[in-house]
């Protein structure tokens, strides 16, 4: 096995897309291509990560991301252990640094971490020699989600560069938005955000994105409408007056999509609040690529695991048969 990700210069970990280049991101997407096919096989297992031990450390509730990582790991033949906060030593008051040291003492290869605090993945990565993959840290980044979104956009349009992407909704609290902003910008897309001013973070334009005032303007402008989940607890924080009001002003309905250009597609990271940020006829309609996103999630995560384990992008096809 070659040294971790050195060919691409990814480094030991995948903490976020902010620190990657467009070429690195595209190379990860290229690596995901051959892995797509594994999930279409009858026997969905290849020996790429045989003998690798991976800990899925999910200290915040997650269904989709955790399962997607687990499928990716299992289909690559890794040995995996899942830890969630409920019932773990973390709930008994163990600090993150002690959790990290104890994992390391068990001689593992990789940690996939989901944590409620921004910076937690980097915190862990700085303290243990294992590869760390960020599966979402607070409101900071969720790089594999953005990678699967990028792959889905690339599948549809052939290229990301030059596409107009508008992210709609709660940008303030969204790590998905941040990772997508970095990834899209680095791959050459034109990026906008749209949402209630209470949920647009300060200084967002300084990241290189434009702000669009209304959902109608966003729909007319974009090739890709990225609809974020409105977390129900935002109502209690007073950011929006009610779900009904949010749907009235920012909800994506098929009626509003009448303004959209022909090829425009709709993405959503899930889980959806149907009837709040997105209407069912849009979610289930012809523009929706929400289920292809989920399928791509497994392939992208396989690619990331493979690359951090030392695999090289150009050898991914062969690796499926022989291991890295």
């Amino acid at each position: 096995m070659t040294s971790p990700g050195r060919e691409l210069g990814l480094g030991k970990d995948l903490i976020g897309l902010e620190s990657l280049t467009g070429a690195q991101i595209e190379a990860i997407l290229d690596t995901a291509e051959p892995f797509k096919e594994i999930s279409e096989r009858k026997i969905k297992k290849v020996p790429v990560l045989r003998g690798q031990t991976i800990v899925n450390l999910f200290l915040e509730p997650s269904t989709r991301t955790r399962i997607s990582f687990e499928f990716a790991e299992k289909r690559l033949s890794a040995d995996t252990v899942n830890i969630s906060s409920a019932g773990s030593s973390v709930q008994k008051g163990e600090t993150l640094v002690d959790t990290a040291r104890n994992l390391e003492a068990m001689r593992i290869h990789m940690v996939v971490v989901r944590h409620g605090s921004s910076g937690a993945a980097k915190f862990l990565a700085d303290r243990i020699p294992s590869n760390v993959i960020n599966a979402g840290d607070g409101q900071h980044e969720h790089p594999t989600q953005a990678l699967l979104d990028l792959l889905t956009i690339r599948d549809r349009f052939g290229a990301i560069a030059g596409r107009r992407v508008c992210i709609v909704g709660d940008i303030l609290h969204s790590r998905v938005a941040r990772s997508n902003i970095w990834g899209l910008l680095k791959c050459g897309a034109d990026v906008a955000v749209c949402g209630p001013r209470t949920l647009i973070p300060a200084g967002i334009e300084e990241l290189g994105v434009r702000r669009l005032g209304s959902i109608d303007e966003a729909i007319e402008w974009c090739d890709v409408l990225y609809v974020l989940r409105l977390q129900l607890e935002r109502m209690e924080g007073g950011y929006v007056p009610s779900l009904r009001e949010y749907n009235r002003v920012f909800g994506v309905s098929s009626e509003r999509l009448g303004r959209a250009g022909d090829g425009m597609i709709v993405l959503h990271p899930g889980p959806m609040n149907r009837g709040v940020e997105i209407d069912s006829d849009v979610a289930d309609g012809p523009r929706s690529v929400i289920l292809p996103q989920v399928t791509n999630g497994v392939a992208v995560r396989m690619a990331v695991l493979y690359l951090l384990a030392g695999g090289r992008p150009e050898l991914a096809e062969d690796a499926k048969a022989a291991g890295p």
């Binding site: 640094v97 605090s117 921004s118 409101q139 300060a202 990241l207």
Partner: protein, 434 residues
């Protein structure tokens, strides 16, 4: 002859008398007796060669957290006072947000007496003046017994760390404290506006996914307090001013004669929010490091004298408390042992402030502002002095701190200006051994 010595041939800077010349300083029985050329001290008085060093009135820091009682794993009155002496300070004001808080005379008396007790045992540092809580339990509701607290040694009142939110309470405090001639120190922050915030609001916080604290959370409270000071004639002192808006508000208010003053911390003059990148908890404090424009405004405020003094907001925390997720790490950094060098590097070296004016801002001004002894070398005054080499370069190594805590963003910095000796009441409380 305890408390007597002759400091020979140093560059004496005494802003209180406009002096900046090579002189000898004769100290007898804990008081300055003469500041002249060619003083021949009486026989038997120890002679300290001060050639090449600055001899100045001891530094005064009106904003220090000593953590005792209640959090002695972070700092104690003894280690905090020694840390102060190592930084050239001869008087520090201890904030009341201890556990229990300094809201009754016994607690205030304890802090004062504890510092004196260690001094008597030969382990003293700077003089420690307790600042009492403004409200019972720092709860922001009922005023403390300020008369009794002053009798027990309190020099001011504040709920520092717990901003005084209720405008009616603030008004009463600004009125009531006038009977005792003491200021109300305010940590100016609207907790509702900064709720959940852990760093400055802006593009850096947005990129890091951290909750921001807007400038307005400081500025709105400063504006309100200025109007209350104007209404009552009381003295409100704004702690650790961090925003350009607050500097401007204080500037305008002072021009029309309102009794408002402010302090600038070395870290707000030296650093910006960029220092937080990488989730560096040693750059997490409240108020947070702000934008480049705010940093410049605070510096300019100090240079212009709108902010009258430097104060460190020395806030020790145990290393494991800072070795955490950024959201969960406590606010605050230590500052006593780096303040002088950081200020020389940030203000004197670039030519924005003379060394004379820096000594004024760190010693004479706080004494005058708060109406306390110190900040002068006039004959007859208390012999609280600092000797420092304004040119010596050194590297900040937290492991060498006298403080119990190491939480500083200046670790590894190459700085200029080193304290060589600190004298309190004629007694040497710190000597540089390096």
């Amino acid at each position: 002859m305890s408390g007597s010595l002759l400091l020979a041939g140093g560059r004496v800077i005494d802003p209180s008398s406009g002096l900046d010349e090579v002189r000898d300083v004769l100290v007898r029985d804990g008081r300055v007796e003469a500041v002249e050329r060619g003083v021949a001290g009486p026989e038997g008085i120890p002679r300290i060669e001060a050639g090449g060093l600055v001899v100045a009135p001891g530094l005064i820091d009106v904003h220090v957290h000593l953590r005792e009682p209640g959090a002695e794993h972070k700092e104690t009155i003894r280690t905090g006072a020694q840390s102060a002496a190592a930084g050239g300070f001869t008087t520090i004001w201890a904030m009341p947000n201890t556990d229990p808080p300094l809201d009754d005379p016994a607690a205030v008396g304890f802090v004062r007496e504890e510092a004196r007790r260690w001094a008597r045992k030969g382990e003293g540092g700077a003089r420690v003046s307790p600042v009492a809580a403004a409200s019972l339990g720092l709860a922001g509701e009922q005023m403390t017994e300020i008369g009794g607290l002053v009798e027990a040694g309190a020099v001011a009142v504040t709920d520092d760390g717990h901003p005084i939110h209720d405008p009616a309470l603030m008004r009463r405090l600004l009125e009531y404290t006038q009977s005792f001639g003491i200021p109300v120190l305010q940590h100016a922050e609207d907790m509702a506006l900064s709720a959940g915030g852990v760093m400055n609001e802006g593009a850096v916080a947005t990129a890091l996914g951290l909750r921001g604290i807007p400038n307005a959370s400081e500025a709105t409270v400063v504006a309100r307090d200025i109007y209350l000071a104007e209404l009552t004639g009381g003295h409100v002192h704004v702690q650790h001013v961090s925003t350009r808006e607050a500097v401007e508000l204080i500037r305008l208010a002072r021009e029309r004669g309102v009794r408002v003053s402010g302090e600038a911390s070395p870290h707000h003059m030296a650093l910006t929010e960029e220092a937080v990148r990488g989730y560096r908890t040693e750059a997490k404090m409240n108020p947070p490091l702000r934008s480049a424009a705010d940093r410049l405004a605070v510096r300019q405020g100090l240079i212009d004298g709108v902010l009258e003094c430097v104060a460190t907001d020395h806030a020790p925390h145990h290393y494991e408390e800072k070795e955490r997720e950024f959201d969960d790490a406590p606010f605050g950094i230590v500052g006593l042992e780096t303040a002088l060098a950081v200020c020389i590097g940030e203000l004197v070296k670039p030519g924005d402030l003379t060394l004379f004016d820096l000594v004024e801002r760190m010693s004479t001004a706080p004494a005058r502002l708060m109406g306390i002894e110190g900040g002068t070398l006039r004959p007859g005054s208390r012999a609280d002095l600092v000797l420092f080499d304004s040119e010596e370069e050194w590297t900040v190594d937290p492991a060498s701190f006298r403080s119990k805590s190491r939480n500083t963003p200046f670790s590894g910095w190459e700085v200029t200006g080193r304290v060589k000796r600190t004298i309190v009441g004629g007694e040497t409380r710190y000597r540089d051994s390096a």
